[in-house]
Subunit: 284 residues, 3 copies
Amino acid sequence: MKKILVQLDSDKSPSVFDAVTAYDSGVDNLLQYGDIAPCQVRDLVHGAMFTRGEDALKNSAIFVGGSDVTSGEEILKEVVNSFFGTVRVSAMLDSNGCNTTAVAAVRKILSVGEVKGKKVVILAGTGPVGMRAAGLLALEGADVLLTSRGFAKSEKAAATVSKRFSCNITPAQVSSPEETEEALKDASAVLCAGAAGIMLIPESLWAKHPTLQVLADANAVPPLGVENTKPHWSGKEVEGKIIFGALAIGGLKMKIHRKCVAQLFTKNDLILDAEEIYEIAKSI
Amino acid sequence: MKKILVQLDSDKSPSVFDAVTAYDSGVDNLLQYGDIAPCQVRDLVHGAMFTRGEDALKNSAIFVGGSDVTSGEEILKEVVNSFFGTVRVSAMLDSNGCNTTAVAAVRKILSVGEVKGKKVVILAGTGPVGMRAAGLLALEGADVLLTSRGFAKSEKAAATVSKRFSCNITPAQVSSPEETEEALKDASAVLCAGAAGIMLIPESLWAKHPTLQVLADANAVPPLGVENTKPHWSGKEVEGKIIFGALAIGGLKMKIHRKCVAQLFTKNDLILDAEEIYEIAKSI
Amino acid sequence: MKKILVQLDSDKSPSVFDAVTAYDSGVDNLLQYGDIAPCQVRDLVHGAMFTRGEDALKNSAIFVGGSDVTSGEEILKEVVNSFFGTVRVSAMLDSNGCNTTAVAAVRKILSVGEVKGKKVVILAGTGPVGMRAAGLLALEGADVLLTSRGFAKSEKAAATVSKRFSCNITPAQVSSPEETEEALKDASAVLCAGAAGIMLIPESLWAKHPTLQVLADANAVPPLGVENTKPHWSGKEVEGKIIFGALAIGGLKMKIHRKCVAQLFTKNDLILDAEEIYEIAKSI
């Protein structure tokens, strides 16, 4: 029986990235649906639920994507609401690659050493990747500081993450070099989760930093988030710091993405969001 | 050469149900088209007709679906109008599952015994499933009574079916328990073809009915069409009556659906509508 | 690794013709995108570029189609602009079949003998097929005359082709039998590239023509472009002339189309437009 993945995408044209990755994960046939609103979800999900019975149900699964993460979360909620008891199929949320990228960044940081009781900073962390990484690092016991250019925005994001992951994230405003320095004080690790093409940490700050051990950067477009580094650095040691560029994180993200899609077809009741994807990534 | 099915669906998002079933019927690659209006059909059908020659043409076929049966019928008409003589591909109509469900219900009723010369009632029969079942039962020689809550509606549906299947269906209004009892008088079999979640025959009526031998119910959502029965009953005998629930009918419907899609790829000139699907179902 | 083709189509419903031909060319999975505007192209192309690395990149490719050739050309331009250096995928343009049909017609004409220094006429040549055929014949050294019912239109098309193919096409108005005769004077070959169902050369003109050796006709719908011929004639000799009908050209077009799509997956940096498709066709 063929492995069929239903791609529910909130964008007008469903992601080619997610489609190619689905096929590279062992999917036999993909059904692509773009411009999906939550109200359309139920009929489509029922079509996946009611065509294959019992053990065969695990051969159908759902992937929720698109550039808008909030829409993706609403779609996933509708997917789950469409199930009847054990008559259900596995589903994964990775709108804009948020879950797989956040998990890859956290795994890279953790590969250097545990973060329990240590301060970890998520610079420009109010986007989907930053928020999910903050939550996952907090679950690992880190004291997480999540920053934004405006305090209100960081406060809102920190509250959302704290509630979602049942943890306690500290917000901070970072809109000047002095505030960056203050935010990084006593920090053991930092993740630059800002927009592409914006430098967040000058070399003068990170190279001589007394406590920083790990720097991770999700930005692959120059200027990079961490000044004078390279996107392909994968744990390169410079000035006693271990540095992970965006391409190194991206390479791991691809492996995680593929493994999670493959996992969908092992059972019919998986819901893969940040925590579940994080667990699966541990075995890579 | 790959078996390619072109799914022409009148709904915005083409049916996942039909897509998964297509792959489970042996289709290699599905081309999904949603939001199809009759005026778009010709170009798409020509694309199926002019890409593979002679014997190879049977490897391309068309499936017309969507929740609106009238739209589906118009699309199928355009499909057929697009052919040039022997340069054509096979096509099947099953908008909203109407043909395969009606055929499955009729096959279940017939499995108990022939209906020739007997009275068969289609309760709430003005929908696509009820109308097609009425026609097929009339072709088997039954005296078919088709009911609706309003007489005018039953009259219109009966006339449409009579014309379409060259038979003579009798209309009746059923809007009260008394009218239900009157409609079922002397009936040998009944099919509940109404909307989901509406009870049509109280147990007090069917359990002691003097002539009813078979009850079939297309409604899987409680309250069921036949009171105090189970959707999975597949010919269960209760009070001397044989009862078929919606899941039993649905299981047969899936087999018929798959067999018909597979059949499309055996020749390049099949048009599978109610009668043809009924014939194919006889071999299951 | 599966061969994935991304079909970017400017029409609302992506072409079934191109889709079936893609599968018949060895594509494993097709991703169909309709209603594509140039502004949507970048994200989709990046999805093809960033999912498979290095040598594996050649397993992803892009096909640009749709009934509007100008839109297709704009889409292809955006595809190429989306690439980063060597991180790219192969792409092919064949909106409305213009490239593969023009190449097939030119190959048929050339099969009779070379055109270097000879006069070749493209009747009603202002459409995509006529313009591309004009350019390719000029590259083979022919003196090409491109005609239209209005002189201004032929002049504009001739200028466009001359610029695009760095050659020198002569325009001419042909709106009467006398102008047709004048245009064909001293011609060695002619291609009828007009709309379906319009006769362009009466038998009385071509049958006794003193210099014409080859006639090719892209119109398969009666009345044909060359009077009293047959669409399936593939090099049939009549009155000392070699004649190619639209079905014969179409048969070669299919072979060229399939070979070019297959070629896309041999390297990751091919851009297949008129000249490249012409080169590939030489090996058929």
